[in-house]
Symmetry: C2
Subunit: 388 residues, 2 copies
């Protein structure tokens, strides 16, 4: 098997190294397409090209591995490779989440395989398990800590008493933050993963725009202290679920008690919890960020291509479900400063109010539908946390 | 797909129910072979037979599901079914662990598929993941809490302050203890699972007799207090690992600190931790005992047979490793009563000694090779715990 590689950053270089270390996977990298020809590279020049066609049109290359940053360029390259009948491995969650219907159709049309395990929680084999192991319809929910960067930041805040600013800086120094930190902090990244899992868990195509998400960017020392006093910490949790034939999804910071299974999921580790009628809770924990864990998933995808593995999208084939989060009610802590106009009318029920100096909070139930439309949520003086 | 079922206990009945509830798996149970024809059954009489040949010789039956208690009878039935070219699903770990070489050879010879996900940690899809996802040779260890009954007992002791006797009784009342409780308590059951995982993780056939195991049957209130004072609890942990081309394995109670990932693995839940060069730690958590979690695994195996799935035993094919635990040293707490003659000479190093009244303990390092031969370990006044 000959691989054409797009991008030669950390993950790409790690992949090169491990392909030479492992006996199990008989595949070699034939050509590497890079953007910047001037950068010094650790391999001989003949491996590199700046022309994508040197990979796309090379009949000796069976597998295209796409590891570049830009989602739209990635989509063009991946589409072109599939159209050439080449198998593709990618870890680009933003690209996949925004183009799932097209990518699915392209696979159906060309018969080529597109694998993207590295796009969801890096080293955790969640897509493969949803495809292969949980392919009966007993699954009721998939949720978890899907973003390594925010989990790293929250761990530093709760376990090492760093401020949120210090923790973000540490994450950046350790290479965990994306080039655009908003993708992580505001919860876009876990939402992209949620969109991918919605298809493999429940068989529905959902646009990222349709899913409510709220990140950790507004959390402050008061919120952290609130969680500590309740005997726990905060985690950014993304969740999708089925009730009857309706499927819902959202992503929001959640209060987690100290003895909860997520409490020991620290730093860049991710966790995915599956609930099913028969096996109840199943939890997968593993590194969810960093070049090595992502490289590990990419390698396993390459390895699966030796056996012509492809996603069958069986849940989509069986599916009679539709996406509709709106009626779901969340029990929320809404913290705000004097002057921010949190709409009491959006609450179905209010159970607690607090005020001290400039800091207020309200605890109560709000339907996700109202959160999606709530103008007050865009006020930077407001933060929300799901509590139980 | 038509199923012939051997045994109609809890798991069998659960399987019947769920096959009628799920849309995903198009399979029906055609015939059920039972031992006792007199017992009242919840299904019409025409489903039942006491003659195995009514299943084995029925050409309409594609899949044999074996869910009986007795390991040797199970082996005969499973072998006969494979020889008839039928696919087989079983959850009988004792049978599999004792007959892996024959069962492997039978699959090679007949081309029939034998699946047994339910035999290892019930609902946790560990065999499938080792086969499919971790099939490169970067894996360095597989360990975890492989026995739901002992974990249930230890949870009751540490979280609800039950005595070991009360906790065992609770486990039996809740249906977690096997018909022979020694299999669980003395660590045979997790050792059987270890033998199965040794083949799928590292490609070696290992007889159960070759693996050192020690259960929780000797633990007492003093040992529990020792763990509590160190800020943690005790878990029965089975472990296999590779160092160079040598593979080792053992099963022993382990001290687990309060913030450890295993601390939140409670009651009948199991956990499996994989360590690999590239993805570091991966943890799978799920229910490891009970009819429903086992039924869930059996169902997923049946479902996989729709796609002619079989284990490839790739690690065995690539393998250059051999089994040799002997040089591995464990850091142990050895508790004993006056009169029990723990051999100091077996310790490579002793770091702590304690004596109070009739209770003594020694902490130090002992090679597994010496534990395997230590006569003093069979003294009922001695217990051991691995500590770090």
């Amino acid at each position: 098997m000959k691989i054409g590689l797009f991008g030669f950053g950390c993950v790409g270089q790690g992949l090169w190294k491990v392909l030479h270390e492992t006996k199990g996977v008989k595949a070699e990298i034939g050509r590497i397409c890079i953007k910047n020809a001037e950068k010094p590279r650790p391999l001989p020049a003949h491996f590199f090209t700046t022309n994508p066609d040197d990979i796309l049109n090379d009949p000796d290359i069976d597998i295209v591995v796409e590891l570049i940053d830009d989602a739209e360029t990635a989509f063009r390259l991946v589409s072109a490779a599939l159209k050439q009948g080449k198998s593709v491995v990618t870890a680009n969650k933003k690209m996949i989440a925004h183009h799932l219907p097209e990518l699915h159709a392209l696979q159906q049309k060309t018969g080529a395989s597109l694998l993207y395990e590295g796009a969801c929680c890096a080293s955790i084999p969640i897509i493969r398990n949803l495809e292969e192991y949980y392919d009966n319809d007993l699954l009721t929910s998939v949720e978890g800590i899907f973003n390594g960067t925010t989990n790293y930041i929250l761990s530093k805040v709760f376990e090492e008493n760093k401020t949120f600013d210090e923790a973000l800086q540490l994450a950046q120094e350790n290479g965990f933050a994306e080039s655009d930190p908003r993708l992580d902090l505001e919860g876009f990244d876990p939402k992209y993963k949620l969109c991918i899992l919605l298809l493999h868990a429940f068989g529905v195509f959902v646009e990222p725009e349709a899913v409510f998400h709220f990140g950790i960017h507004r959390l402050n020392a008061f919120d952290a202290e609130f969680a500590r006093r309740r005997g726990g910490s905060l985690k950014l949790v993304a969740r999708c679920y089925r009730q009857g034939d309706q499927v819902g999804a959202y992503c929001i910071p959640r209060f987690v008690p100290g003895n909860h299974r997520y409490a020991s999921v620290r730093n860049e580790y991710n966790a995915v919890t599956l609930e099913s009628a028969f096996s109840e809770q199943q939890v997968f924990v593993g590194k969810g960020a960093g070049d090595k864990p992502t490289g590990c998933a990419v390698l396993s995808d390459i390895s699966a291509l030796r056996y012509q593995y492809k996603y069958e999208y069986r849940k989509w084939q069986q599916n009679g479900s539709f996406f509709n989060t709106s009626d779901t009610e969340l029990q929320l802590y809404v913290r705000y400063s004097t002057g921010a106009s949190v709409a009491d009318a959006d609450f179905t029920e209010i159970t607690e109010r607090f005020m001290s100096g400039d800091t207020h909070y309200t605890i109560g139930r709000i339907p996700v539908r109202k959160l999606q439309r709530a103008a007050w949520l865009s006020d930077p003086r407001v933060s929300v946390v799901e509590i139980n």
